[in-house]
């Protein structure tokens, strides 16, 4: 569309016609420059997104070494309105996304829908798009921030920000926003099993809602908590920590464990 117009203008200018034509020529040139810069910017964005997909692919490849694992660990629940002891747990995982946390004969309190979101299903790039979001530091380690967006509208995860250690291909931190269960943060610390991208410690931080039960249900006469304490309990972050002591990797796990 611009070709014939541009040619006509060039001829007019060279033949020393009306100087007004020069201004028109400048406008057209500006438009061309704008379009070129727009294309360049878009292309650079695509290149960056591509880079992050590659990085996420590498992280996924590392995670894919593990087909299944069984781990022993300790579960610590730190929620302001729950008094819970530190307890021994067993964690089971099997590809693609089977996950089970068990406490023999006991009760485990976990962030709502959070623990079952494993690194494996976040970086499933077949259904997510990964975009670069700059550099950051997690516990003194330089990491790449990657925004992971699901392409499937029905996915529970709306947005995940991964803090990836490029050198070791490990996710050091993740901030996950879900449709149903709000936003939670996962901090991962690695040790002996870093080669398999399996953490030694996982800390889930999440927002909690207010908790209060009517006296009619508890049949209590006296509430031990003073009004001041109730304010302290509001809008507090809950924290669940899992410290793994051992892993049994790729030895096979029966599906019945996950039922």
């Amino acid at each position: 569309m611009l070709g014939p117009k541009f040619q006509a203008l060039g001829i007019k200018l060279l033949s020393g016609q009306n100087p007004f034509v020069l201004t028109e020529y400048k406008i057209v040139m500006k438009r061309i420059l704008f379009l070129v810069s727009l294309f360049t910017f878009h292309f650079s964005l695509l290149t960056h997104a591509q880079d992050m997909t590659e990085l996420v692919k590498k992280v996924k490849a590392k995670l894919d070494q593990v087909n299944d694992y069984q781990a022993d660990g300790m579960l610590k629940t730190d929620i302001v309105f729950i008094k819970a002891p530190v307890s021994k747990i067993k964690v089971y995982f099997k590809k693609p996304n089977k996950f089970r946390l068990k406490k023999e004969g006991g009760i485990s309190i976990l962030p709502k829908g959070g623990v079952s979101v494993t690194a494996g299903n976040i970086v499933d790039i077949n259904s997510f798009v990964a975009l670069a979001a700059g550099d950051a530091e997690v516990d003194g380690i330089k990491v790449k921030m990657v925004k992971v967006l699901p392409t499937d509208e029905n996915n529970e995860v709306v947005l995940a920000t991964l803090y990836i250690d490029e050198a070791y291909l490990l996710i050091r931190k993740a901030v996950i926003t879900t449709k149903e269960n709000g936003t939670y943060e996962i901090g991962l610390t690695y040790g002996k099993f870093a080669a398999y991208a399996l953490p030694d410690k996982v800390v889930f931080s999440f927002n909690t809602k207010d908790y209060k039960l009517p006296k009619g249900i508890t049949l209590e006469f006296d509430d031990n908590v003073k009004p001041g304490d109730m304010n302290k309990m509001k809008n507090k972050k809950g924290k669940v920590e899992i410290t793994y002591s051992s892993y049994i990797i790729n030895k096979g796990i029966d599906d019945s464990v996950f039922k």
Binding site: G105, V115, K212, E220, F221
Partner: protein, 291 residues
């Protein structure tokens, strides 16, 4: 004294009325157990509805310890009424039958007579609580198995590890015995003033219900008098099911959040028992027995 106690116990356990309480308690406990066995998960979801907005609670919540806690919550408010059936009949029943004058004519002191009567009520109360422990705790453990106990309180919840629960029930039952004995002592005291059993039984029940309602209501004027009502202290068996946490918010195994509250309440209840029985002895010693 021992002979007197034996006679009184024989009289209590010979009456069919005594077994109404055992039958009623057994029926109530069985109803709760059958109900929870059939649809306990719905009940648990209802109780934990406030928590489930923030967290997922996984594991065997419906276990024998939880079922027993539900039973005790329901029963320990109503058992006093069953205890009043026997304790409030101890003196007035004799007066009604016309045997009181005959008994005080025997070569035993009136203090011994009153003490034997009260001890017989105490034994009855004890047997009733042991029966609750057998059917409410042991039977529930047999039907539902063991596990961690999760207790939902007004503004927080407590998770007690399964190996940290049984001793708490022992403590709670001992405390509950003290609470029930207070009601027995009250009924026993009131039975001094009547010549038939209905009056003291209804009076005991009325006092317990009236005080319980005042103890429950969160109205400032009532809250001022609540610490002086024995019904407020009767429910503190629940303190055994609350634990301390350390600076990291980790529950401390084997701890009790408010041991002083248990001690204070136990002392208040014990003082009521001593007061009612002492006053009964004092008044009966001066009583002109005409029936």
């Amino acid at each position: 004294m021992w002979k007197l106690l034996q006679i009184e116990l024989y009289k209590i356990f010979r009456r069919p009325r005594t077994y109404i309480s055992f039958a009623a308690i057994t029926a109530l406990i069985l109803v709760v157990q059958v109900g929870l066995k059939a649809d306990g998960e719905t009940y648990i979801n209802f109780v934990l509805s406030g928590l489930k907005d923030s967290v997922d609670i996984d594991g065997k919540l419906l276990n024998g310890y939880f079922v027993c806690y539900v039973i005790l919550q329901l029963l320990l408010i109503h058992v006093p009424l069953l205890i009043a059936l026997i304790a409030a009949d101890m003196i007035s029943g004799e007066a009604n039958m016309g045997t009181l004058r005959l008994m005080v004519a025997k070569p035993i002191s009136r203090e011994q007579f009153i003490l034997a009567k009260f001890l017989a009520s105490a034994v009855y109360t004890f047997v009733l609580l042991v029966w609750i422990a057998i059917t409410g705790l042991l039977l529930s453990l047999w039907i539902f198995g063991t596990g961690d106990l999760f207790v939902a309180k007004i503004s927080y919840a407590v998770q007690l590890q399964s190996n940290d629960v049984f001793w708490r029930y022992c403590g709670a039952f001992c405390f509950a015995y003290l609470a029930m004995l207070t009601v027995a002592a009250l009924g026993f005291f009131l039975s001094l003033f009547a010549e038939n059993s209905i009056g003291p039984i209804v009076a005991t029940m009325s006092i317990v219900i009236f005080f319980t309602i005042i103890s429950t209501m969160s109205i400032p004027i009532f809250q001022k008098i609540q610490p002086y009502l024995f019904t407020t202290h009767m429910v503190n068996w629940k303190e055994f099911f609350d634990e301390k946490v350390n600076a990291n918010n980790e529950a401390i195994l084997g701890s009790i959040q408010n041991p002083q509250r248990i001690i204070n309440s136990a002392l208040v209840l014990a003082a009521h028992i001593v007061g009612f029985v002492g006053l009964s002895m004092y008044l009966f010693k001066r009583k002109d027995v005409l029936s």
